[in-house]
Point group: none
Chain length 109, copies 2
């Protein structure tokens, strides 16, 4: 199924389906000529992604990062570390790249 028909099926736009693919929320196959080819699974993924955005009130990009948090061990590790730092209140020194982080903080302000 091509992107236009998929969009009509889902009640969204072809533009949004391409954006969702760019974010990694859906990964349709391609024809020999380069056309996106949506199967039932791809439709379900796109529909579910839209539902999750509404249910959790998050943007497509946040949803994509949530996927990475589950699939990329480095991301998961970093988030667990952040959760640990945020949750606790015992005295622990800034034992990671303090200087770099401070610099980024300053530049971002």
């Amino acid at each position: 199924m091509r992107v236009g028909d998929a969009a009509r099926q889902l009640g969204t736009s072809a533009r949004m389906l391409r954006y969702a693919e760019q974010l990694g929320l859906v990964a349709p196959a391609r024809t020999a000529g380069g056309y996106r080819d949506y199967g039932q699974r791809d439709l379900a993924a796109a529909a579910f992604a839209l539902e999750l955005q509404a249910r959790h009130r998050v943007t497509p990009a946040a949803l994509a990062f949530g996927l990475r948090a589950l699939e990329d061990p480095e991301v998961a590790g970093s988030l667990r570390r952040l959760a640990r730092l945020r949750g606790g209140d015992a005295a622990t020194a800034l034992d990671f790249e303090t200087a770099k982080a401070r610099r980024l903080l300053r530049l971002a302000s």
Copy 2:
């Protein structure tokens, strides 16, 4: 440590620290009078959150959702289901670099 001193320590503003708390990225204790009381761990969490935003090229809101994905079983389950539907590779997920992240990386180099 109060919010103003914490901001100076991190090279950022009190406003940003309050915003980070609103997003759930930091959770400083409160004094009896309601003042935020930042410990070393809170400082580390705030700095690490900023570093993660730059490293993984995501917004603060996306980072907060990543934490939810790690801590809320319902969110985690939904995301695993989405990942299963999407199947295939997660490599495309690396393509959602934001302009802000690019700016931070440029400034940090």
